[in-house]
């Protein structure tokens, strides 16, 4: 096989391996389905009744929080994919991968693609709870929503791989990933509306690429949204590309 063919086969092998691992892990599947269900059913519905009067009158809190719940699933799910790198290092499997005659780029790509697939599946499960929060959309909108989710899943997974490449312990990974994920989530406009925030916080919201992902998801299913779709798509594309490059850089540096 030529080096390129081997690299491609390696991407497939790495992706397949992580997908098999995901589907064999019942707790992960349960978490993927259970977390968004609880979030939408309890949190969103609860808050819906608490302060729907303060929101944009065109939409209730349940409907408002829908895209946020998907984003949350993708953020936590994607970030967590980075832990597979720490895991592989801890249990020796990474060394077996690193002595294979494949480029580091192929390894990062395989890990990131597999992680993004798993993350997207989790996002899928979250999105399927739409009826629970009385969100309705047609097939075409569903495809647009899925595309928006896919780009975000790729970007966030790459971020997870970046952090995972630099961490040596599970504990370290847990701490750092929470530090990264929580602000990205809270400042995305997915949990609370961003109008009326203090200026410093509003600036952070605008600087947060996840904001545009949430906005794009809203736009794709016909909900009120803040930015033009071209801006949302542009920011997401840059976000995903930058994160993939960061993942590659971090992995290369860590693996030598």
């Amino acid at each position: 096989m030529s080096p390129l063919a081997t690299d491609l086969a390696a991407v497939v092998a790495l992706s397949r391996r992580d997908l098999i691992r995901f589907f064999r892990d019942r707790s992960q599947i349960l978490g993927a389905v259970g977390r968004p269900a609880i979030w939408m059913l309890l949190f969103a519905t609860g808050l819906h009744h608490a302060f729907s009067s303060d929101l944009d009158s065109r939409i209730g809190y349940k409907q408002f929080a829908y895209a946020g719940a998907i984003a949350m699933t993708i953020l936590f799910g994607g970030m967590f994919q980075g832990v597979t790198i720490v895991w592989d290092r801890e249990f020796g499997m990474l060394r077996a991968v690193l002595v294979a005659p494949v480029s580091r780029t192929a390894i990062v790509l395989g890990k990131t693609l597999a992680g993004a697939c798993v993350t997207l599946l989790q996002g899928f499960a979250a999105a399927a709870f739409a009826p629970l929060v009385e969100v309705h959309f047609g097939a075409f909108d569903a495809v647009r929503l899925l595309a928006a989710m896919a780009v975000m899943a790729l970007a966030v997974t790459a971020l997870g791989v970046t952090v995972g490449s630099r961490m040596r312990t599970f504990e370290g990974f847990g701490v750092i990933s929470n530090f990264v994920v929580l602000p990205l989530y809270f400042l995305s406009g997915g949990v609370f509306p961003t109008s009326g925030l203090p200026p410093w916080m509003h600036a952070l919201v605008l600087a947060n690429p996840v904001t545009y992902g949430v906005d794009l998801m809203r736009a794709s299913i016909g909900q009120p949204h803040a930015f033009a779709a071209t801006i949302d798509v542009g920011v997401q594309a840059v976000f995903a590309t930058a994160m993939c490059l960061a993942a590659l850089g971090a992995f290369r540096r860590a693996a030598g």
């Binding site: 096989m1 092998a13 020796g92 294979a100 005659p101």
Partner: protein, 327 residues
């Protein structure tokens, strides 16, 4: 393929802070050899392997595998080697077959050749019936055998194994060594193995002993054994003085060890027969043939290694326990 040596290092050094794990190591292993790298704990064997397998950069010096420089051409080096690491490196959530499929795909084995190669490799280590079982449920020995099968799957030019037979039962150890010998017997492919088992090292064509990151002995097992002193006859007789005089008269070197005569010379069986002819009353006789283990101990000394570090660990653990107790 070039006629370059399978492995060649020049002044290879690696430091961890102030510790020199490898200190100007010069090592050349010819192609087609069954080669063993020996050394006490902490001697630098695994460090050497990490560098040869491109996982660790040398601090200075250079290393070539199958004619490729490990720093400049890592991908070519990786394409030439099959590795068994000291620690298990399987994916325990996958089955044995899935582990090998993963390896085949990352080592450029064509899709059409994967299945037969995998079946063959599994059979060679007696794991055919466990192919569909998750590695998690494997015993330590089964995991090791699977790793050995994996390292050989893509028929690498240089097989590198770090203490591959630790924890294996005698039957498996024997089959593994038969396979390693068969690979080297092709005279095309090379086996580079580290081991603490001297009986295994004695089966090799060529042996190097390292200590403190330096090469301290090199040669065939027989040549190294010869350096630990020749064969000798140890006897206890009714009249040691008379027996010693006879032995000296025959031109043999005679010494004394714990009330026994130690007589050095060639072919101790013949010496015993001749001595028995002249000096009656031999009560006890032993023929001592030094083994590689004697040579190893003679060359590397008797003190245990890493004792200081282990002591440190124990002290740290005790402190830890005390701290917990207080809580």
């Amino acid at each position: 393929m070039t006629a370059a040596p399978a492995v060649c290092t020049r002044a290879l050094s690696r430091s961890y802070g102030s510790l020199k794990a490898l200190d100007e190591l010069d090592l050349e292993v010819a192609r087609g050899q069954l080669f063993a790298l020996l050394g006490p704990n902490g001697a630098g064997k695994s460090t050497t392997i990490a560098i040869l397998t491109t996982l660790l950069a040398p601090t200075s010096g250079e290393a070539m595998v199958a004619g490729w420089d490990v720093v400049r051409s890592p991908r070519q080096v990786r394409a030439s080697i099959g590795v068994v690491f000291q620690e298990i490196s399987l994916d325990d959530r996958l089955t044995a077959r899935e582990n090998l499929e993963f390896h085949a795909m990352t080592h450029g084995i064509d899709a059409s050749r994967r299945s037969p190669r995998i079946a063959e490799a599994l059979a060679s280590v007696g794991l055919s019936s466990a192919a569909g079982k998750r590695v998690r449920a494997f015993s330590g020995g089964m995991k090791r055998r699977l790793e050995i099968a994996r390292a050989m799957l893509h028929e690498p030019a240089v097989l590198v194994l770090d203490e591959p037979t630790v924890g294996l039962d005698p039957q498996t150890r024997r089959t593994v060594w038969e396979q390693l010998a068969a690979i080297a017997a092709t005279r095309e492919r090379t086996v580079f193995v580290t081991t603490h088992y001297m009986d295994e090292a004695e089966r090799c064509d060529d042996v190097a002993i390292v200590d403190h990151g330096r090469l301290i002995a090199r040669g065939s097992p027989a040549a190294l054994v010869a350096r630990a002193g020749g064969e000798r006859l140890v006897v206890r007789t009714e009249d040691d003085a008379k027996a010693a005089a006879h032995a000296q008269a025959l031109g043999w070197r005679v010494g004394n060890d714990a009330g026994r005569l130690v007589i050095e010379g060639d072919r101790p069986e013949a010496m015993l027969a001749r001595l028995a002819e002249r000096a009656a009353g031999i009560r006890e006789a032993t023929i001592v043939r030094p083994k590689l283990e004697d040579a190893f101990v003679a060359l590397t000394g008797r003190e245990l290694r890493d004792v200081r570090e282990e002591g440190g660990d124990r002290a740290a653990m005790a402190t830890n326990l005390r701290a917990r107790g207080r809580r």
